[in-house]
């Protein structure tokens, strides 16, 4: 069993209204040191696969096909093996 942790982020240059709002709220709460906030998605997938490489291939395909929108988003992921 594999556990994939996927990060989906807005591409550089794409405005991130949610990140901006969070930054505003943090500053208002008194966190003055906050310079920048980016909001993205965390998607964690438990999957069965032949081996690590197959898992890797599958997850990449999932990201490309569904999990990230290439017009506005980038993705990265890491995969860990799980013993259940």
């Amino acid at each position: 069993m594999y556990l994939a942790r996927i990060h989906v982020r807005f591409k550089p240059g794409v405005l991130d209204p949610q990140g901006t709002a969070i930054k505003g709220a943090l500053n208002q709460l008194g966190f003055k040191g906050v310079k920048d906030v980016r909001a993205g998605k965390l998607i964690e997938i438990t999957l069965e696969a032949e081996d690590r490489e197959a898992a890797d291939r599958a997850v990449r395909e999932m990201c490309e096909k569904l999990l990230a929108n290439p017009v506005i988003e980038d993705f990265t992921f890491e995969i860990a093996e799980e013993n259940l």
């Binding site: 794409v14 405005l15 209204p17 949610q18 709002a21 569904l66 999990l67 929108n69 017009v71 506005i72």
Partner: protein, 239 residues
């Protein structure tokens, strides 16, 4: 002129679109369930209605594009059939690549339900031919993610090719920042594909097509479609 209204799980403007085409325009309409396929020749117009297909989970419109009915929509699109995506339907068209760009959350992160003014950007299309160029139309919006985004190049192309159907504007037709309800680039409210047989728009023409609702600004859009089609039938150019 036969219209299909696609019903995705979570669609909720399907009955409204059906109602307008069937009862207001008096034309045949049918629901097509997302699990079903159809042939491109079955319908002359396909409406992808508003709503929250698949709960809008992950990204608006992202999951709906894989449904069997969408496979038929792609084929119909290729054959030049008219396709109208309203609100969530527009978002699905973007996700499916039938229209360029992407939709983001409204700049203020809030859902917006109110009337807006639209400037008609082009009248040279099957969807807008009865409007006057630059005409100001009032229509309701109701969305949380109508903040249109595309790369510079795409935007320039849309402009150059006359593919921006509607801009958000003020009541005098001025396209200003204040008139932009959601942060959409260039105040874009609706765009067309290259062939101009596909229109995606955030405002809801089906919600303003009857006197009793206090606004008939959207009715001309449906009448344009019918007019275009009947013109083609007459001149024998159908199909």
């Amino acid at each position: 002129m036969k219209c299909a209204v696609i019903v995705f799980p979570g669609s909720n403007c399907d009955i409204d679109c059906y109602h307008v085409w069937r009862n207001v325009l008096g034309q045949p309409a049918e629901y097509v369930f997302h699990k079903d396929r159809f042939s491109p020749d079955d319908f002359d117009l396909i409406i992808l209605p508003g709503g929250f297909s698949y709960g809008d989970y992950l990204r608006v419109g992202a999951i709906a594009r894989f449904s069997p009915a969408m496979a038929s929509v792609y084929r119909a699109a290729e054959k030049g059939k008219l396709i109208l995506g309203i609100c969530n339907g527009f978002q699905i068209l973007l996700e499916s690549g039938l229209l360029p760009g992407a939709m983001m959350r409204n700049e203020d992160l809030k859902f917006h339900c109110h009337d807006v003014y639209l400037k008609v950007g082009t009248v040279d299309t099957p969807f807008t031919n009865l409007y006057r160029r630059g005409e100001v139309v009032r229509m309701p919006i109701a969305h949380g993610e109508g903040n249109y985004y595309a790369g510079r190049e795409t935007i320039e192309r849309l402009k150059a090719e006359g593919r921006i159907a509607f801009y958000y504007c003020d009541r005098n037709g001025m396209v200003t920042g204040d008139a932009n309800p959601n942060g959409s680039l260039e105040n874009i409210a609706g765009i067309l594909n290259e062939g101009k047989n596909i229109l995606g728009m955030m405002p809801h023409p089906e919600r303003c097509a009857e006197e009793i609702l206090g606004n008939t600004g959207g009715r001309k859009l449906f009448e344009s479609i019918l007019d275009y089609f009947e013109g083609r039938v007459k001149s024998g150019r159908q199909g």
